[in-house]
């Protein structure tokens, strides 16, 4: 039995007691709602959990979820919905949860968000839906806003633990084929949305396992792989096909998917996936890793199971992590779990500028990780065998605000020191991976290598090719990637529906000389029909 910070049974009993009291009161006034204490989910004891991969935070208990939802004052003009990148009808799902109607509540979320179990866990709620929550405002603390993310996660977990989550309805086969490149958050959403319209959907994944960043990047202790598996399994049951070990651009060129394989539309959701290095001296020493590599070895290649896996993991005692985002937090907490006695995060700005999710920062601190603000590595020092022995650290002060509106860190001349270390994990961001764009002639990218799309449709400059997620946004969040996927899927579905109508209208004149924009597509459809038959 794992130890918890607070006993889950007690948390539950307290919530049940409060619910009883409130039931006796009848209709709740605003004052009553604001008086309900924010419900904190059961959390594993930091001392124990920092040696395990087990998920740190458990879902709210049903009583807690109901109680937390009762804290919502049902604003007429809800700021939470505006703060949500996919505009989930938050007051509505909270209202239904407060009534105990969990199945209706989760359906409200699923109208707009496909992956609530994931978003509930990884969204930076304090910067989105919960940021301007009226309850938090009234109580003058964003930490006391309605815990929307916790309720969302509770509902999603509740549904997953039911006999079997309902398979979304899929329309009858349309005869159209959609290729999705990448099985991360953006790709999964496109796959689901296009499949629902009856299109044949194939998801191509470069790795041998599905989920993209949800699999290789975000660790088990923050997002159990069972949750990702369940979402992918649902897509499989909807009839989505998955092709692993398939690098579009190498195994098959993007345009060949349409020209040779008869796909009618392609969605690029291949993610950021090109680690940024600092270029500082000593970055090539043994013991310096990109956080991508470190986390991939741990999460995807099974290095979290030493003894069982063939993929070696660098053993370190004193690990230094560079960066202040979620990836840096994942990397430092993973290093801790893999046995590092001392983990120090260097972040060159202050805590307020830290892009990581507030909860991850708190959890990292609880687990004994030290975060040194306004400090950054100047270079990495090695021993005679080329292995890391220390990092030279430069101290900073905050100067004038920069283009991002955050105060620019300015190095304090001469204020440096040597920090002993045997491993350095670089987590300062990702650029767009050029593999796909460089092998797709004509595809428009911007100076940063991101694919350029029409912001309304997600369409690239190439006909029938759409894109979304980090390959468009640069390194962003899961929910934004999902929003992008949703938009692109809508455009793909509209395009394919329009073509189906045009084709039906043209059918009697199939032998007339084709003219106009859609002619090639129409002719190609003949080939597609053959392909569909061949595939059974």
């Amino acid at each position: 039995m794992p130890r918890y910070v607070e006993d889950p049974n007690k948390l539950n009993a307290r919530a049940r007691g409060l619910l009883e009291e409130l039931r006796d009161k009848g209709t709740l006034k605003m004052k009553d709602r604001l008086a309900i204490p924010v419900q904190r989910p059961p959390v594993l004891d930091p001392g124990e959990r920092s040696r395990w991969q087990e998920e740190v935070e458990k879902p709210l208990t049903p009583a807690q979820a109901v109680l937390e939802s009762m804290r919502c004052i049902q604003c007429k003009n809800p700021a939470c919905v505006k703060g949500c990148p996919v505009a989930i009808d938050i007051p509505e799902f909270l209202r239904l949860t407060a009534e105990g109607n969990f199945s209706a509540a989760i359906e409200v979320i699923k109208r707009t968000s496909l992956l609530p179990a994931i978003c509930g866990r990884v969204c930076p709620q304090e910067r989105q839906c919960q940021k301007d929550c009226a309850v938090g405002k009234s109580l003058k603390d964003v930490g006391l806003a309605v815990a929307i993310g916790k309720v969302e996660r509770f509902l999603a977990d509740w549904q997953r633990n039911q006999a079997q989550a309902p398979v979304p309805r899929v329309k009858s086969p349309s005869g159209r084929k959609v290729a999705v490149i990448g099985s991360g958050p953006a790709g999964l959403v496109v796959a689901a949305d296009c499949r629902r319209e009856g299109h044949q959907v194939t998801v191509f994944e470069a790795f041998h396992k599905l989920g993209g960043v949800l699999r290789y990047g975000i660790p088990e202790f923050r997002l159990p792989k069972e949750v990702v598996d369940a979402e992918i399994d649902l897509l499989r049951r909807m009839g989505v096909e998955f092709r692993t070990n398939f690098v579009v651009g190498r195994t098959r060129k993007l345009l060949d998917l349409m020209d040779k394989d008869g796909f009618d539309a392609v969605f690029i959701g291949s993610g950021a996936g090109l680690p940024v290095f600092t270029g500082m001296p000593g970055e090539d020493l043994v013991g310096v890793f990109s956080a991508n590599e470190y986390l991939t070895r741990a999460n995807m290649m099974g290095a979290i199971h030493p003894g069982r896996t063939d993929t070696p993991m660098f053993v370190s005692r004193r690990t230094v992590v560079l960066g202040g985002g979620n990836v840096a937090m994942d990397a430092c907490r993973m290093a801790r779990r893999l046995g590092a006695e001392e983990v120090v995060v260097l972040y060159r700005r202050s805590r307020t500028e830290m892009p990581a999710r507030a909860e991850e920062v708190e959890h990292a601190l609880e687990e004994g990780i030290e975060i040194r603000f306004l400090e950054n590595a100047l270079d990495v020092l090695g021993d005679e065998s080329g292995r890391v022995r220390a990092v030279t650290v430069q101290r900073y002060a905050l100067g004038e605000p920069d283009a991002s509106g955050r105060r620019r860190p300015v190095p304090i001349e001469g204020d440096t020191y040597e920090l002993p270390a045997d491993a350095v994990l670089v987590a300062i961001g990702n650029n767009s991976n050029p593999l796909l764009t460089s092998t797709t002639p004509g595809l428009e990218v911007n100076a940063r290598g991101n694919v350029v799309v029409d912001p309304e449709t997600g369409c690239t400059n190439l006909e029938r090719v759409f894109a979304g997620g980090d390959i468009v946004l640069g390194a962003a969040t899961v929910i934004l990637a999902m929003g992008e996927g949703r938009r692109a899927a809508r455009s793909i579905n509209e395009m394919l529906a329009r073509e189906a109508i045009e084709e039906a209208a043209d059918a009697p004149h199939a032998h007339a000389a084709p003219t106009g924009h859609w002619a090639p597509g129409r002719l190609r459809r003949r080939r597609l029909a053959l392909g569909t038959r061949r595939g059974g």
């Binding site: 092709r243 991939t296 993929t311 070696p312 084709p514």
Partner: protein, 341 residues
């Protein structure tokens, strides 16, 4: 094992019928009768992306031993067979859950049969397991073709240096360079006679074939750098040198040619995870810049590569690897002691 250096590579130019590619490329420009013809264009033997089976993995079609601990294996991988070019490699795992990803260069491919050929030396746990596969078994993970293909053109006099298993990846390049009209000298080096591979194939292609062994059991008793130096000093110095083999050999080949200013290409085989540029584990310092072997390479200008750093990075997991190998050996010994256990 990450220390698996085995590579092999064969020419792929010309395997893709160029007419087919051109015809399909025209689709969007030419909406007339030609496109209708495409409607029935499925060429026999060339699979489309939705036809290649993966659930069962990649089937082993043949296995043979070329030399002690050196194996040649043909694997079914129709799309890779179709797309690969000389110089490209694949990554494979012998176990989907806990296997390690190792890079192996594509030694040859047959797009008609939908197969690729790998040549590897048994040096670590993964290659040991690979060598244990039999015809009909399947590899659960195989991805490629990865890396930038070799640039083949007419340089004039080309000297190709292969050390040990490095002769295998050299072969397709030699084939391509020969076809491009170059004069070819092949220097093949091995520890001992039994480890000289692909000799007849190389002799058939090369204008000059020089074999050297460490122990003098075959050819000259010398290191590959000796004949290389003599060629550089000779009346007709090479216009291009390509050296593939152990890192230390490539380093010294580059040092040998440097004073003569002879352009020298090397093919690097570093530790990799994804092979698509995502992890950066394969990074090397080339001319002061960080480059990724998996996407920028595997071939680089040997005079620019920081070999010492690369060699030390290759040893990053030496301790763990030794433990894994010892463990495997112990299991092996145990199995021999209790054959029915």
């Amino acid at each position: 094992m990450s220390s698996d250096f085995e590579t092999s590579r064969v020419l792929g130019a010309g395997s893709q019928p160029p007419a087919r590619r051109r015809r399909l490329r025209r689709r969007s420009e030419e909406p007339s009768g030609l496109a209708v013809q495409e409607g029935s264009e499925a060429l026999p033997g060339l699979p489309d992306a939705s036809a290649e089976p993966t659930p069962s993995g990649f089937e082993v079609l043949s296995v043979e031993t070329l030399a002690e601990k050196v194996m040649r294996m043909r694997v079914r991988a129709p799309l890779i067979a179709q797309e690969r070019n000389p110089g490209q490699f694949i990554l494979l795992q012998t176990d989907v859950e806990y296997g390690e990803r190792i890079p192996l260069t594509i030694a040859d491919a047959d797009p008609r049969q939908g197969s690729i050929t790998l040549i590897f030396q048994v040096v670590g746990k993964t290659t040991q397991e690979l060598a244990g596969l039999r015809v009909g078994d399947s590899l659960p993970v195989l991805v490629g073709p990865l890396g930038t293909p070799t640039h083949i053109e007419k340089y004039g006099r080309v000297v190709a240096v292969g050390g040990g298993i490095g002769v295998a990846p050299l072969y397709p390049i030699v084939e391509g360079m020969k076809a491009a009209g170059n004069h070819l000298t092949v220097i093949a080096g091995a520890r001992t006679r039994e480890l000289v591979i692909l000799e007849s194939e190389m002799r058939a292609l090369a204008d000059d074939y020089i074999v050297v062994t460490d122990d003098g059991s075959y050819g000259r008793k010398a290191l590959v750098t000796q004949p290389l130096k003599e060629l550089c000093e000779g009346p007709e110095p090479p216009d291009l040198v390509i050296a593939i083999g152990p890192p230390i050999m490539m380093k010294f080949c580059a040092e040998t040619t440097r004073p003569f200013g002879v352009r020298t290409l090397v093919s690097l085989n570093t530790i990799m995870v994804d092979g698509t540029g995502m992890c950066g584990g394969c990074r090397v310092n080339v001319g002061g810049k960080t480059r990724f072997v998996c996407v920028d390479g595997p071939e680089f200008d040997g005079h620019q590569v920081d070999f010492d750093n690369m060699i030390s990075r290759l040893g990053a997991y030496r301790d763990q690897e030794k433990r894994a190998r010892d463990h495997a050996c112990r299991l092996h010994a145990l199995a021999e002691k209790h054959p029915h256990a």
